[in-house]
C-alpha cells in the first residue's frame, strides 16, 4: 500500500524517537500496521509530586497529520492534575490547532504547528506535570485544590502515583 504523507512522517518520528529518545520518554506505535495509534510512557518529573511515577498515554493522530495535531489521553487513570480531564484527556496548548482558541488565553506561538512533533508534545506534557497551567483548568477540582490547598494536592498526587505503581 502506498504510504500517506502522515504515515511517512510518523515513521520518521518513530525512528527518531527510538534511536535518540529524550530522557524519561518512550513512545511508539502500538503496531506498525497502524501508525495512527501510539502509546507513550512518561516518567514523572523529578522534584515534583509526580516523581517516581510512570504514566501511560495514548496518542491518536488525524489523517492529515501534521497539519492537524494528535490527541493525547492518559490511560489507566491516576493523573490528578489541573490540565488533565478526569477521563485522562490532556488539555495543553501545543495540542490545539492554531485556528481556534476556545479558551481565549493561549498565545498562537504555543499552539500546534506542523513543525511540532510527538517528542515536543511529550516534553511539553512533562513540564506541564511539573508546572500546571492555572488559566484553563480541565479538572476544576484539581485546579482548586492546587491553588488553595497545595499540600493536600501534592499528597493526593503522591497517593495516586503510588497506587499506579501498585504499592
Amino acid at each position: 500500500m502506498a504510504q500517506s504523507v502522515a504515515q511517512k512522517r510518523l515513521f520518521h518520528e518513530y525512528k527518531n524517537l527510538s534511536t535518540n529518545p529524550p530522557e524519561g520518554i518512550t513512545a511508539g506505535p502500538v503496531s506498525e500496521d497502524d501508525m495512527f495509534y501510539w502509546e507513550a510512557l512518561i516518567e514523572g518529573p523529578g522534584g515534583t509530586p509526580f516523581e517516581g511515577g510512570v504514566f501511560a498515554a495514548e496518542l491518536k493522530f488525524p489523517k492529515d497529520y501534521p497539519l492537524s495535531p494528535p490527541t493525547m489521553k492518559f490511560v489507566g487513570g491516576g493523573v490528578w492534575h489541573p490540565n488533565v480531564y478526569p477521563n485522562g484527556t490532556v488539555c495543553i496548548s501545543i495540542l490545539h490547532p492554531p485556528g481556534d482558541d476556545p479558551n481565549h488565553y493561549e498565545h498562537a506561538s504555543e499552539r500546534w504547528s506542523p513543525i511540532q512533533s510527538v517528542e515536543k508534545i511529550l516534553i511539553s506534557v512533562m513540564s506541564m506535570l511539573a508546572e500546571p497551567n492555572d488559566e484553563s483548568p480541565a479538572n476544576v477540582e484539581a485546579a482548586k485544590m492546587w491553588r488553595e490547598r497545595r499540600s493536600e494536592y501534592e499528597q493526593k498526587v503522591r497517593d495516586e502515583v503510588r497506587k499506579g505503581l501498585g504499592l
Binding site: R9, K15, T19, N20, P62
Partner: protein, 383 residues
C-alpha cells in the same frame, strides 16, 4: 513492516565517529515532513520547506509553520542553494555513512579484544585520523576500497593502488619491464593481463563517468535554470469554490482530468490537493509525469479523501466510550421498527403518487427513493 528500516534519519550519525554530521543533516531536512527537502522553497520570512509541504501548510493555514508569519503560496521562491547542497550531500551520504559505521564496528571490536595483529593497528590510526577530518575528506578511504576490488583482477597488486589517483599526466612514464599501459585508464600492468583487464576497465570507466556526471549536477542545475523558462509547465490557479456550484466544479474537474465524484467539500479538498501537487511539480527540477501525479492524488484519495472512511468517526466522536450500543438498540428496538415502517410507508406513497400506474412492488422506479431507507432498515435490523 520494513519501511521503518528504509527511512534514513539524522540520528543515524549518532554513536558513530561522525556524529557531528547529525545537525548538518537535520538542517537539510524539511521540518514538516522530516525528510530531505524535495524541491526546497523559501518563504517571505526566509524559512525553507519542501515545495509540496509548504504549499499544503499555506493552503490550510496561510502561515509559516516555523514563525507563524502570514504568507502566500504566490510569494514562495525556489531555494537553489539548498537544492545543490542537498544533492551533493545525498550523493555522498551512503558512502560516508558506510565508512562511519565501519569505523564504529571496528572500534567496538577493538574495545572487545586486545589488539594484536599489525594491520589492525594501522586501521585504528585511520579511525583516529578521520575522526578529526570532515566528511569531505572521508572520500579517500572510499577510493581505496575501490582499488581493492580492482586488485581482484590478476595483475601486480602493488602498482595499481599507487597510480590510481594520479593516473592523469603520467602517460609518458613507461618502464620497460615487460609492462604495458591500458589504453582506457592508462594504468600500467603486465602485458599478459592487458586484454583481460580492458573489458573490466571499460565497464569501470563508464561507471566513473556516471558519478562524474552526478558530481556536476551543480553545473547541471545552472543549465537547467537557464533552459527552464522556455519549457516550464503552467501553474494552476486556485478556484473560488464559493462562487461555483457542484456541477460547475465537476465540469472544471473534467477539464483537469481529475476524479469528479464526492460531495462539494470533498471536491474542494481534492482540488486543493491537486493544485498543490501540480504546482509543486512545476517547481521541481525533474518534473514528474501527469500519470505519476494522478497516482499521488490517488494515494491522497485513499488516505485522506473519499477513500478514507475513518476520518470522520476517528476524532470528535459524539458517543462516549462506555456507551452500550447493544443495550440501547435492544431497548429501542420497537421505536426503530416503528420509524422504519413509517418511513417505508411514506416513500411507498411518494412513489405511487409520483409515478402513476406503478405499484410499490415494481422495483426499478422505486430504487432511488427507496434505496436509502431500505439500507438503513437493514443496518438497524442487524443490530
Amino acid at each position: 513492516m520494513e519501511n521503518s528500516l528504509e527511512i534514513t534519519d539524522s540520528t543515524d550519525w549518532l554513536g558513530t565517529p561522525l556524529q557531528l554530521l547529525a545537525p548538518l543533516e537535520s538542517s537539510l531536512r524539511c521540518q514538516v515532513c522530516k525528510d530531505f527537502f524535495d524541491t526546497p522553497m523559501i518563504t517571505s520570512c526566509s524559512h525553507s520547506f519542501c515545495s509540496l509541504c509548504i504549499r499544503r501548510c499555506l493552503t490550510a493555514d496561510n502561515k509559516c509553520p516555523i514563525c507563524r508569519e502570514g504568507d502566500q503560496v504566490l510569494k514562495l521562491r525556489r531555494n537553489w542553494a539548498v537544492q545543490e547542497l542537498l544533492d551533493t550531500f545525498k550523493t555522498a551520504r551512503p558512502a560516508v555513512m558506510e565508512l562511519a559505521r565501519k569505523f564504529k564496528a571496528l572500534k567496538e571490536q577493538e574495545e572487545n579484544q586486545v589488539p594484536e595483529p599489525q594491520p589492525k593497528k594501522r586501521k585504528a590510526n585511520q579511525i583516529e585520523q578521520s575522526q578529526e577530518v570532515s566528511s569531505v575528506e572521508a572520500s579517500p578511504p572510499r577510493l581505496r576500497t575501490r582499488s581493492r576490488s580492482v586488485k581482484a583482477v590478476p595483475q601486480e597488486p602493488e602498482v595499481i593502488p599507487e597510480i590510481i589517483e594520479d593516473s592523469e599526466g603520467e602517460e609518458e612514464y613507461i618502464p620497460d619491464d615487460g609492462m604495458a599501459v591500458c589504453p582506457v585508464c592508462d594504468r600500467t600492468m603486465k602485458i599478459e593481463a592487458v586484454s583481460h583487464h580492458i573489458d573490466k576497465c571499460l565497464v569501470e570507466q563508464e561507471a566513473r563517468e556516471a558519478t562524474e556526471r552526478q558530481k556536476h549536477t551543480a553545473f547541471g542545475v545552472l543549465q537547467r535554470q537557464q533552459n527552464s523558462p522556455s519549457k516550464q509547465l503552467d501553474r494552476l490557479p486556485t478556484l473560488n469554490y464559493d462562487l461555483m456550484n457542484p456541477s460547475q466544479l465537476r465540469k472544471k474537474f473534467k477539464e483537469l482530468g481529475i476524479p469528479t465524484e464526492g460531495a462539494k467539500d470533498l471536491m474542494k479538498r481534492r482540488h486543493t490537493e491537486w493544485v498543490n501537487l501540480w504546482n509543486a511539480n512545476c517547481d521541481s527540477q525533474n518534473p514528474k509525469s501527469r500519470m505519476q501525479l494522478l497516482r499521488e492524488l490517488r494515494v491522497w484519495e485513499d488516505t485522506q479523501g473519499g477513500g478514507s472512511v475513518m476520518t470522520v468517526p476517528d476524532r470528535n466522536t459524539v458517543t462516549s466510550k462506555g456507551f452500550d450500543a447493544a443495550g440501547w438498540s435492544a431497548n429501542h428496538n420497537d421505536d426503530f421498527k416503528r420509524l422504519i415502517a413509517s418511513a417505508r410507508k411514506k416513500t411507498d406513497a411518494q412513489v405511487r403518487s409520483t409515478i402513476p400506474g406503478s405499484s410499490g412492488s415494481d422495483q426499478s422506479p422505486s430504487t432511488s427513493p427507496n434505496g436509502l431507507p431500505g439500507k438503513v432498515a437493514e443496518d438497524l435490523g442487524d443490530r
